[in-house]
């Protein structure tokens, strides 16, 4: 069984990076640039977990997230000379990972589309993803509620556009500033703010029927799924 954690905000992790760690990041960057390949290892070991968390939340898939992490570090290594402010390697690598995750999701979408028949694809495009979620509201008597809620959340996240998902992950889970989100989305701050709003709005429409106040389950759903496992545990 895969162990799961509930790491909510890496915001604090990223902002509370001790200055000593930032200094040693800067030294590791300099040494890597000076030709010490092993110095890059320090950076990889220090920032992998944070990048994985971001990548997983963006892609919703462990294997994809692993690949995003590896590719982000490879890209960072290849472009290390272009990295200006050497004290914030973590933030820079984070941005590379976010950009690569978006590219990857777009690529996968294209491939999926190519594989599907045109008519099926058109059908899918005509249908609002949010309607799909609303129509699929389960009968609480049939389903284990917590795992159902989890899958609904994953589904709702998948139904967001890449920009919306990126904006939501970066703003809500990672606590990035709007400017940082705008840089990744290559948009203005106003557009980034609107994207964050749209993502929250869509998630709300998709999930509110399943969520009670305080983030628990709706009383009706709770009664039906009383015997099921609790949130955050593997089903």
């Amino acid at each position: 069984m895969t162990r799961m954690n509930e790491s909510i905000g890496s915001v604090q992790d990223r902002e509370a990076v001790p200055s000593a760690a930032r200094d040693s990041d800067a030294i590791a960057v300099e040494r890597t640039l000076a030709g010490e390949r092993d110095a890059f290892r320090i950076l990889v070991e220090r920032h992998s977990a944070q990048l994985f968390r971001l990548a997983y939340r963006m892609t919703g898939n462990e294997q994809d997230a692993e690949e995003v992490v590896q590719e982000a570090f490879l890209r960072a290594y290849r472009n290390l000379g272009q990295f200006g402010s050497r004290a914030n390697f973590g933030t820079w690598a984070y941005r590379i990972a976010a950009n690569y995750a978006i590219d990857r999701m777009r690529q996968q979408k294209k491939e999926d589309t190519r594989r599907k028949t045109p008519s099926a694809h058109e059908e899918e495009l005509e249908q609002d993803p949010l309607d799909l979620v609303a129509d699929e509201r389960p009968n609480p008597d049939r389903l284990a509620v917590n795992s159902e809620l989890r899958s609904k959340m994953q589904e709702a996240l998948k139904n967001l556009s890449y920009s919306e998902r990126t904006a939501f992950v970066m703003r809500h889970w990672e606590g990035c500033a709007i400017e940082e989100i705008a840089a990744v989305l290559k948009s203005t701050t106003t557009a980034a703010k609107n994207t964050v709003f749209r993502s929250v709005q869509k998630l709300r429409r998709a999930l509110e029927p399943y969520v009670g106040v305080r983030g628990g389950l709706q009383p009706q759903a709770k009664a039906a799924g009383a015997a099921t496992d609790s949130l955050g545990t593997e089903s």
């Binding site: 000076a34 920032h47 490879l74 050497r86 809500h172 929250v200 106040v213 983030g215």
Partner: protein, 265 residues
């Protein structure tokens, strides 16, 4: 009572609104908006509980093992880095020195066609001389910084922090020039000089990225690093070699001026 919109409440919740106080005041009085905000909060709270698969403590190491064989031999410096203002300044300095050497050569060079031909240095020799002078000067400055750090010590036993801001600033200023000279030495096939500059760069980087005030323990670490690399010794030896070379290079110039004097007479 005018209620706030969903967008305004989400912005309030995300700390992105300019009317924070007005919304806060409204929320204390308006149960409908409070309930709306609670519903938004509930969804976001539920999403907080969406788990992320845990990666063990060795995850970073595993990632390194995966990517290490795929890394190019050297980290990319990227062409843009050479256009950074600090690099442009360093390039400018070297270019100015080369130009100066060229102009000086034109001014003091043979003008009278009747005078016997005097051996004139070709472009590569001029470049080498400029590099010898510039690197010699650079090593001299670096030696001073390293010496000061090697001899720094707390002024009294209880001193918690030592100010090295002057050395730190100087090391920062020397770093870009050092990179440039190292690259030049490497391209010129002077592996020994490139290696010393490489070692020096690491120490300068450590110093440049240190805080203005460091603890005695950190100072001791820096001093150990300077000592471990034997960098001060290497800098002195190479600096001395360059001085000798510079002197040897200036000999023909002396001969040239002697020749001119002789011609005048």
């Amino acid at each position: 009572m005018n209620h706030f919109t969903e967008e305004e409440l989400i912005a309030y919740r995300n700390g992105e609104t300019t009317q924070r106080e007005a919304i806060a005041a409204h929320l204390t009085a308006c149960s409908a908006c409070r309930a709306e905000l609670e519903r938004i909060e509930a969804v976001l709270h539920a999403l907080d509980n969406l788990p992320v698969p845990e990666r063990g403590a060795d995850y970073g190491r595993a990632v390194w093992q995966q990517i290490a064989p795929r890394l190019p031999e050297k980290a990319g410096r990227g062409w843009r880095v050479w256009f950074a203002p600090r690099h442009l300044l360093a390039f400018g300095s070297v270019a100015a020195m080369v130009a100066l050497a060229f102009v000086a050569g034109r001014l003091v060079g043979p003008k009278n066609p009747g005078t016997p031909p005097v051996p004139v240095a070709d472009a590569s020799q001029v470049r080498e001389r400029v590099l010898v002078v510039a690197v010699g000067d650079h090593l001299g400055k670096s030696e001073m910084v390293l010496m000061e750090l090697a001899n720094a010590a707390p002024q009294h036993p209880g001193q918690k922090e030592i100010n090295i801001s002057a050395e730190q600033k100087r090391a920062e200023d020397l770093l870009d020039a050092n990179r440039l000279y190292r690259e030049t030495a490497k391209q010129g096939g002077d592996a020994a000089l490139a290696s010393v500059l490489d070692d020096l760069e690491r120490v300068l980087t450590d110093v440049a990225h240190s805080p203005d005030e460091i603890t005695p323990a950190r100072l001791a670490t820096l001093q150990k690093r300077i000592e471990a690399h034997g960098i001060l010794f290497k800098v002195r030896v190479v600096g001395k070699e360059l001085q000798d070379k510079q002197r040897a290079n200036s000999e023909p110039t002396k001969t040239e001026s002697d020749a001119k004097e002789r011609n005048k007479a």
